[in-house]
Subunit: 503 residues, 2 copies
């Protein structure tokens, strides 16, 4: 330890611990930087130095720790503490305060590689503070209807029983129990015959779009989408270089005749409840769409986002259930039926695509939280999920009825699409109320949220829908809120046309 004599320290005692510690830190660092203190030199033990300097050992330990943290010191087990090996002076980063650092680098224009990404950020208003008191936002499940009791029990039970699974990596394709439960449920409710291995668990439908994009899209590949289209789909495909081919939607869904003359390798559709218009793809068109895909050798992506909520009319069999040539990739989500905060969805892919999709998924991420997956699997298997769906379906239907009734009472007959199912409908405003963005502004001024189709993330390629289309989500509102909200809109407009003056 004789060598440590060369460490000349000049500590002013009687200072606060942090000041002493800082003096020590600065002086040792300077000794290292000046070369006084070199690699082969061991530091005195903290006990010894504290004694030598007549300061508390803790002060020395803390100063040493900082020097460790900053890479000046290292220990060799059982031997001692040393200056870090081969630490050249020029290597030491001068500790500049953040604002100084920024000044210092500001004038340096660094050359940077060109960014490969040229997509657009998906923008949609997030729920939260600053939203109107009555908010016809779309696609939110009702907070009060979250199956809290069942969830808590399943979480706690599974955490206690098998928390060990939280320590390990699982299959990137998802928990097998959940995949099996889903395969069975989809057979029963959507007519889809799929083995568990065809079901791939995703972080919601959006991740599914990415898996499909990576599977099929190369720059320039033509992808047919509905016009208007769910933006999350169109923007994702576009970001992988797809050439988007918008196909018009009418009141029977996507126009297959238009699709038939537009070659594409992929068609993205929302047959149960077209987004955002809400129309249902007719059975005839479903069959024709499948025939198109079979003839063209194309794939169909069926986004079945809110098919659990059908109030009137037949729940038409999913395209994936009608498919006999393995051309449909089915997208499902728990964001509508349980909650978007859960971030779970799934793909059902034809058997010949399973290996490729699992390969992509294994590169994309290693799957989803184990606990959430097992909770959902057990919720389904126990029958709790089906009961939950039935319960909220009733509530949503009541909310829909309240909305249709209020619209009729306050505005008379209106053109409404998408009312037979889902969590929203679309109101095509008459000329006296259009344009939609103006209408939404007026509504907001009366503390009511209603949304033009671009505000809910729909892309209107032809520009024919956004002028009049207003999306009204009703699934998170009570009948009373709906009544008050629609009345406020009516009052706002009756005030304007001076029949009655708003106070």
């Amino acid at each position: 330890m004789g060598v440590t004599v060369s460490l000349v320290l000049n500590i002013e005692r009687g200072q606060s611990q942090s000041t002493l510690q800082n003096q020590l830190y600065v002086q040792i660092r300077e000794s290292i930087l000046s070369g006084t203190f070199r690699h082969e030199m061991p530091l005195p033990s903290s006990r010894r130095l504290a004694e030598d300097l007549g300061i508390s050992r803790n002060t020395v330990v803390l100063a040493y720790e900082r020097l460790f943290d900053e890479g000046y010191l290292q220990t060799q087990a059982g031997v001692g503490t040393f200056v870090t090996k081969s630490l050249p002076e020029r290597c030491i980063t001068v500790d500049v305060p953040p604002n100084k650092a920024r000044e210092r680098i500001a004038p340096v224009v660094l050359k940077r590689p060109r960014l490969a990404f040229r997509g657009q950020r998906l923008q949609f208003a997030e729920k939260g503070a600053g939203r109107p008191s009555i908010d016809f936002w779309y696609g939110s499940s009702n907070r009060r209807h979250f199956p809290l009791k069942a969830w808590r029990k399943l979480l706690v039970d599974n955490l206690s029983r098998t928390s060990t699974n939280l320590s390990d990596y699982g299959s990137p394709a998802g928990n097998l129990e959940l995949r099996q439960a889903l395969a069975e449920r989809l057979g029963a409710t959507r007519g889809i015959r799929a083995a568990a291995d065809q079901v791939i668990i995703t972080a919601g439908a959006q991740e599914g779009m990415n898996l499909i994009s990576r599977l099929l899209i190369e720059p320039g590949v033509r992808v047919a989408v509905e016009d208007p289209c769910y933006g999350g789909a169109a923007r994702a495909f576009e970001s992988y270089g797809a050439a988007i081919v918008p196909i018009p939607v009418d009141n029977e869904g996507i126009d297959i005749a238009a699709l038939e003359i537009e070659p594409a390798v992929l068609a993205y559709v929302t047959p149960s409840h077209q987004f955002p218009t809400g129309v249902t793809l007719s059975l005839e068109r479903r069959q024709r769409l499948l025939k198109w895909a079979t003839t063209e050798g194309a794939y169909i992506v069926e986004d079945d986002y809110d098919s659990d909520f059908r109030y009137d009319g037949p729940p038409l069999m999913a395209l994936a259930g009608l498919d006999r040539s393995d051309c449909v990739i089915y997208l499902g989500t728990f964001s509508k039926s349980i909650g978007a905060g859960l971030r779970l969805g799934f793909l059902v892919v034809p058997e010949h695509l399973v290996d490729s999709i699992v390969a992509i998924k294994s590169l994309m991420n290693y799957g989803h939280p184990w606990l959430d997956q097992i909770v959902v699997a057990e919720f389904i298997k126990s029958g709790g999920y089906e009961r939950h769906i039935r319960g909220i379906r009733r509530l949503y239907r009541d909310a829909r009825d309240a909305l249709l009734s209020a619209l009729k009472r306050y505005f008379g007959e209106q053109y409404i699409s998408g009312k037979y199912s889902g969590m929203h409908l679309m109101w095509s405003l008459p000329p006296s109320l259009a344009p939609a963005n103006k209408f939404a502004e007026t509504a907001l001024a009366h503390d009511v949220g209603v949304y033009p189709i671009d505000a809910v993330g729909a892309v209107d390629f032809g520009g024919v829908w956004k002028a009049n289309g207003i999306v009204l989500g009703y699934s998170s509102l009570s009948a009373n809120q709906i009544e008050v909200g629609i009345k406020r809109l009516a009052d706002a407009y009756s005030g304007r046309t001076s029949r009655r003056r708003a106070r």
Copy 2:
């Protein structure tokens, strides 16, 4: 209801309910398909038909439901039940049993679009049944050390208090509370100065690789990686079309001199504990790497996967902490410190890349389970996380000590790298024990799992490591298990060299 007389049904009574129901279903469907029963014709109510046929109403309801599910029937609210509108006969999918269906489509060779994806599936052995009783698998946290009590409390508390957040979409970049907690922690423990908005929550580090790939990689772009390299990184970059440039690793980490003569837009490194060799990148090389990136205008991806576990020597400041030209993208994960089943990690990106990364993330998925994020945030903020880390660090260090001691006792001096930190070390087998794959096979025959570097998902481009390198993970084993495991290996080899014969 007179029209319904044309529905001629021939039901054999006295059968089981399901048989009656099936007769009814088949006959009504045939009436529809044959055109006897057309759209304008209303069906009798289930009550009426049940009475007419003298069967239970439930039987009729179930048969109707199946016809609904398959799209043959629809209801018109308040009017009645009808055959689905415009249902052309040719549209009806014949219900073929699954095996028949497969036969039927087998001979039809469909043309399909060329798959865009040409990457490789990430393969690594999943933990589970069939693994040896003593398994030196790498990177698994110890199941017994999962912070179960704290977790259960945080889960239940947060679920009850604010379960409503489970109903809504959150920011794709992650929960702000968690991002803030991480920004603070990274400042204190890794010297990284970052604002909360620079922290992006990911589904583990692997998703981070994908975000970075989409940001920077176009086909042909050169990406430098360590050789040997973590396969999850190399395979992900490759799958986006990167030209991989392997740069050799020696006992100070990646060879910067070799990197300096190989232009690349991105260098992927694991400076704290190189994967799989475990070597630490020296401070001198860290500085030189940063200088290279600044001069080249390149980015560095710093994968700091197990930096929470450093047992000896200085925890060298992260590259992201030394970076003064905003060229380091930092990857972190909770898979090692809490558990891989949690599937949470994070990126810290330079400020000028935040918008682009968030845009990519918004297209990739809408973020991660809200509940898990808030639990981790509160775990960090409460100090529980830090205590947990300290606790397991002690346990892992003890396990490492046990492993080093057993290796020395049973095999004498060996070349071991990566022992100062992390959850695994690498043993370079001497010629008497090599090759590594043979050694692993012998170990397995004695119910001990040890892993050549390719078995743990490392890619050995130059082919110099895999012959001798054996990865030994110790974090999920007790000192006793480690002792027994290494002894079994020694016994196996002493038996072979006939000093002692294995029974």
